[in-house]
Amino acid sequence: MEIYSSNYFIFVISSVFIFLLLPGKFQNLFLLLASYFFYISWDWRYAAALFILTVFNYGYAQFLEKNLAKKNPWILRAGVVVNITFWLVFLLGARAVELLNELLSQAGFSTIVFSLLLPLGFSYRVFESISYLVDIRLKLAKASKNFLDYATYMAYFPKLVSGPLERGRIFLPQLVKQAVVDDDQIKRSITLIILGLTRSIVLAGMLTVLIPRSIFIKPLDYSSTQIVFGLIIYGFYLYNQFAGYTDLMRGISGFFGIQLTRNFSTPFFSQNFSDFWRRWHISLSQWLRDYVFMPLSRSFLRRNPSRKNIPNLIIPPMVTMLVSGFWHGATLNLLLWGAINGGFILVENLLNLFVSTNPSGKVVLWRKLLGSLVVLSLALLAAIPFRLDLPTSKVYLYGIVKWNQWDLPDVRPWIVMGVSLLLDWFQFHSGDEFVFIKWSGWLKVSLVAITVAAMMVVYNLQLAPATFVYP
């Protein structure tokens, strides 16, 4: 069931309607059934894989909690290893079957007819499962004694496809208490839905058509200016589609009385890469920080507490970003993307050794703008292997550095990107994601009318994106 489709619209409206009519004790069961219905609409095998993962982790959590007093680290590690193995079977299995078939074909044998696809959103489920087990071991959470609640957490359809990545200790308590959908929640949900649709359909939809047609297939057919601008447009497209998607899901989730994590916080206003990763794909970045970066950093610091110790500075950020690259897809170009971003953080850590701190925290405006520009430029360069395979990435980069021609840019994408930045700026400047709620009534109505009109234009031109899958 595609997200941006009339079927999904009908599904959400009816789900909200039925949910709000049901007595509290049946609401979680309904959410679970609706979520599995949604997942099965993609592929029943996805639902089967999710169910197996859910049963295993629910049971393992009980075992973990019974053995909290035991010091053996393998009590936790075994659970984590099983989750990762399950994930790798799907992530790498499809590729392994492909390679095997190539070999069989070359050797003259008949190929294996077998398909193995990574279930939609499975990488999120695996990371959620791991953090759930780790939090129980760290005594930050208790194992859920209600299988229905746990299964609902795992399958909850607003976060099922592309996150946000939710921690069990934050999500599960919301299922235990009665859902509250008051006026404030309705206002926030509507705001998020409108923002989400504006970003993901209007802005991302327009940017899709304004990126030069085959620039990511044959970049050298274009001038260097177009190649650079194509990259910038892609960055804004990715941001608006992903941020818009998660805002839409958060808005829908609000109608079930469940708060999902804010996943983007004006990332183009970041001052450095550490700041960037606190603003971009926040739920994943926080997961990586809590379960990869911090444990590694502390482990190295215990051996040598000096910040100047080079392994302390190099290994944690590189490993963390390589894990991120792998999570996005087990391909060499994504690992390269991870390594490049790890490198940026590493360079920042090294520079911080020589730059004196500024305890007042005040930074002049030109330095803030320069910081944002540098971070955005480098993040976009790193996005080349994120978007393209390795051979095409090399060609794309060559197309930038050879700098053969200066063209006047097409103004239209810059207008769209300007609107995107303006939306962000309102939130950034006010420090309030929901600043739009405080605007006057006529302004809000006008903006909603413009958004609806723009959405109709986008749909008529068939620019609306397919469901955003990340990864």
Binding site: K139, R289, D290, Y291, P316
Partner: protein, 85 residues
């Protein structure tokens, strides 16, 4: 160990090891991470400092900007942890 001793140890660690300004008059409620004065690597350093100085382990998911942004917050978390032992 009373609260003022803990505050002083934390302040001294932050000023000497993280800010590299031992004589800086750091206020107890002065934000450190949220204003970008120090980075997330420094959070790991704070975690290890608390382990070494107070023999208290604070789990990684709790070492966040929301929980540990000021000397006051760090001190409160240490006291909470010590009372639970």
């Amino acid at each position: 160990m009373d609260r003022s001793e803990i505050v002083e140890k934390v302040r001294q660690f932050v000023c000497t090891e993280l800010l590299k300004k031992p004589d800086y008059a750091l206020q107890e409620d002065e934000p450190l991470f949220s204003t970008g004065v120090i980075d997330s690597f420094a959070m790991a350093q704070i975690g290890v400092f608390i382990e070494t100085e107070f023999e208290l382990y604070i789990p990684d998911p709790e070492l966040t900007v929301e929980n540990m942004d000021t000397v006051t917050q760090i001190t409160d978390r240490i006291i909470q942890g010590l009372q639970a032992i």
